[in-house]
């Protein structure tokens, strides 16, 4: 149901192609000429594909690593409502805010929000955004946060990444999930159409993976960390004894490599962006001819 809704596909393109990639052609293709974007914290709406691209380009200039990840979509008729998580590091140009232009602080932010799209004849005519602007301002240091929350050091962050690989992925200790991951944790991997979010969904994924490869062993080969991020290059080995991504058990020994990028806030992992050699893995499972 959710995969097949054409308006959801358009809303997904709005986030991935326009918001994340600032793709001008996509903006002209899926936004109507009279498109209107409103956010209560912006005094004036943004009009048309060009007006909106102006806002997106400003965000990318301010936050070179800007991202917005849809978490959940609800659609019916002409409407799609999306809950998302977005963030970035303010190391670029000034950010236009209700408090005036804000020069780069070097601070990182991640906030929650929701967007309500109206889509007619394949084009988005209206986008009503709501987001945690107060949280954004506090994290960027414009408005003092009510209390200082201690952030972890890069060494502590690497230790969290190690526990993720060892305790959760290699040993299947599901009780560690709630200990080291944030409640709104997002696992983002190209082979899944949507991010896997929250404790229950992620535990389900871990069990699914471990059912497919009961002896799976993750080895972290090296870590690089900066600020609140850790990038880890890893290797897995395992035996394919259960269904995986449509491939029935083959008994094959598999070996795969990948890179995970972890984002940590308030001592817990809030997201993992995964990239691995899926093509090679599918060849090892006999799905794709080697």
């Amino acid at each position: 149901m959710s995969q097949g809704n054409p308006n959801k596909a358009i809303a997904r393109r709005y986030f991935h192609e326009i918001m994340n990639q600032a793709n001008k052609d996509s903006a002209y293709e899926i936004l109507s000429e009279d498109f209107v974007f409103t956010l209560p914290t912006h005094p004036e709406p943004f009009h048309g594909p060009d007006g909106f691209l102006g806002l997106v380009n400003m965000l990318h200039s301010a936050f070179p690593d800007f991202y917005i990840d849809p978490q959940d979509m609800v659609a019916s008729g002409d409407w799609v409502a999306t809950r998302w998580v977005g963030g970035g590091t303010h190391v670029g140009g000034p950010l236009l805010t209700v408090k005036g232009n804000l020069e780069a602080t070097g601070n990182y932010f991640q906030i929650d929000g929701m967007t309500w799209h109206t889509i007619k004849d394949g084009k988005i005519t209206e986008s009503i955004g709501h987001e945690d602007t107060l949280g954004l301002m506090m994290q960027l240091g414009v408005i003092p946060a009510p209390e200082i929350v201690e952030e972890t050091t890069p060494e502590q962050n690497e230790a969290l990444a190690m526990r993720y690989f060892q305790d959760i992925m290699s040993e299947g200790k599901l009780e560690v999930v709630e200990e080291i991951l944030a409640p709104n944790f997002a696992f983002i991997i190209p082979t899944q159409p949507e991010p896997i979010t929250g404790y229950e969904a992620f535990k389900g994924f871990v069990m699914y993976l471990r059912n497919a490869f009961p002896d799976i062993q993750f080895t972290a080969l090296r870590h690089m960390s900066e600020g609140n991020k850790v990038a880890s290059r890893w290797q897995i080995t395992g035996t394919h004894l259960g269904e995986f991504l449509g491939a029935p058990a083959t008994g094959n020994k598999i070996k795969d490599f990948g890179i995970d990028i972890f984002t940590i806030r308030h001592g817990k992992i809030v997201s993992v962006h995964v990239n691995e050699n899926d093509f090679g893995l599918m060849q090892q499972l006999g799905v794709i001819p080697a």
Binding site: D72, V98, W116, H130, L134
Partner: protein, 136 residues
């Protein structure tokens, strides 16, 4: 539960709970272990609907919500809402300002067996605190 029944639960949430301020409705339309998701930056982070209603009615006893649109699919309902209220009591430790305030936002609900099991909220906390003069 049908999509229309789920929408009816969400309508009761705004009209019966918040506009009629009927505390009994909480047990009728929400699960005892309902999960509330507030944005980290939201000024007010009540631990339960019971506490929320109580503290909100001290600060804004005349709060009145308008439901603008509802969209529903599967077990989810999303509502576009706004409210008006007058701050006649203590809010977040600040004395009453007697100012009229307004806010708008989106809430997502997950309905399980006719009751709200999970709710995500996105409003404009910054705008509210500016209207109250807490943030200049």
């Amino acid at each position: 539960m049908s999509i229309e029944a789920n929408k009816a639960v969400v309508t009761r949430y705004w009209i019966d709970l918040w506009n009629k301020k009927d505390e009994k409705v909480i047990d009728e339309i929400t699960h005892p272990d309902v999960k509330l998701h507030f944005p980290p930056g939201q000024a007010h982070q009540p631990p339960s609907f019971q506490v929320w209603l109580k503290t909100a009615l001290i600060a804004f006893p005349n709060v009145h919500f308008t439901i603008h649109d509802l969209v529903a699919e599967g077990d989810k309902v999303v509502c576009r809402w706004s409210y008006t209220a007058t701050n006649t009591g203590v809010f977040l430790g600040n004395p009453a300002t007697n100012r009229d305030v307004t806010d708008q936002g989106l809430n997502m609900f997950r309905i399980e067996n006719g009751k709200i099991a999970e709710m995500w909220m996105s409003g404009d906390s910054l705008g509210l605190l500016q209207q109250l003069g807490v943030i200049k």
